[in-house]
């Protein structure tokens, strides 16, 4: 599935009751939830199967391996976000405009996410089979860093360590997912407030 297909699939899942989702999507949902709470190695394939309501070996009719489930989940996280920020980083608008545009898209994307992706930490990229996402994540980080450095160079931003800003942006995305999966939908105002918080923290004016 392309990035556009992943985005369309999220919209379709959001408009369908979970009970009517395909088994494959219900596996993704329960695997994400259990990995977020117990970690990748703490969430066993038996835990996941049991949450879905099937037996453990039946999982392997839908995914080749446990890590293949994570590969699919990572595409909703790293792949989509990287495709988006690479596009925005290339734009020639002022850094503050580009950053605000990206943050609003980013926070909205995670606030609407049907899977609890919070267990997909950067450290997971070292598991065998997930190496491709280490590269994508490096591209995402480099793009966000370049927007921040542009803003510092143009005098728009304070000279805050970009790695601090990167960590802050990720933590706010996870907080959006937490609200969304706790059945507390995140309003447009709250997403805007969070983006403004980051912009104010950076801006010199």
């Amino acid at each position: 599935m392309s990035t556009d297909d992943l985005i369309a699939h999220v919209e379709q899942l959001r408009s369908t009751p979970v009970a009517e989702w395909s088994t494959r999507d219900r596996i993704l949902r329960e695997a994400a939830r259990l990995i977020a709470t117990k970690g990748y190695h703490g969430a066993s394939t038996r835990d996941i199967a049991s949450a879905v309501g099937i037996r453990q070996p039946s999982l392997f009719n839908h995914f080749d391996s446990k890590v293949a489930i994570v590969v699919e989940l990572m595409r909703y996280d790293t792949s989509v976000a990287t495709a988006r920020i690479v596009n925005i980083a290339r734009d020639d608008a002022p850094a503050s405009d580009r950053l605000l545009r990206y943050l609003l898209w980013d926070f909205t994307w995670y606030a609407r996410m049907p899977f609890d992706l919070r267990g997909l930490k950067e450290e997971l990229h070292e598991e065998p089979g997930l190496e491709q996402f280490a590269r994508e994540h490096a591209t995402w980080t480099a793009s966000l860093t370049s927007i921040i450095r542009d803003g510092v160079a143009s005098g728009e931003f304070h000279d805050v360590d970009p790695s601090v800003v990167v960590a802050v942006v990720i933590s706010i995305c996870w907080e959006m997912i937490r609200s969304a999966t706790d059945d507390r939908p995140v309003s447009a105002k709250r997403r805007r407030d969070a983006a403004d918080f980051v912009l104010r923290g950076l801006s010199r004016s």
Copy 2:
């Protein structure tokens, strides 16, 4: 060990080469590092023992169980930070003063931490034996939230969702540890810049 003893022990470890640390402290160091990169269930007791240079059953001469290692590490994280913020939150200074004072202490504490505590996520509190830290963490969160709410009520701060600010503060602490354990010591200026970033993001003026 009391909170003060933990703080003193950190200073002692920082002034001693790792090779001269006690076996117990070297177990804490390697366990923290492996849990940060592979997760609690992904870091096996054999991995930890091997990193320390002993056999796996020898670990149990120093700690009663695997979770007991995490209990000790959590004291350097949650217990110390909670004791500190409870004290500051009670003060009657303006919210922005209290927040700045806490952030500077907090970022300095983590920037000097000899153990890589980044694997000690909130979700770990659900493991059997770690319930006490769920309560401490709730106290820490409530204290930070009350400082932010005070600032909103007094007109010092924008009405940013406190849970977003809490997530942001934690992410910056983890970033301080990352720099410190990558052997890139965090200067007082960088810690101050990070605290100012948070304050600017919140402040109305």
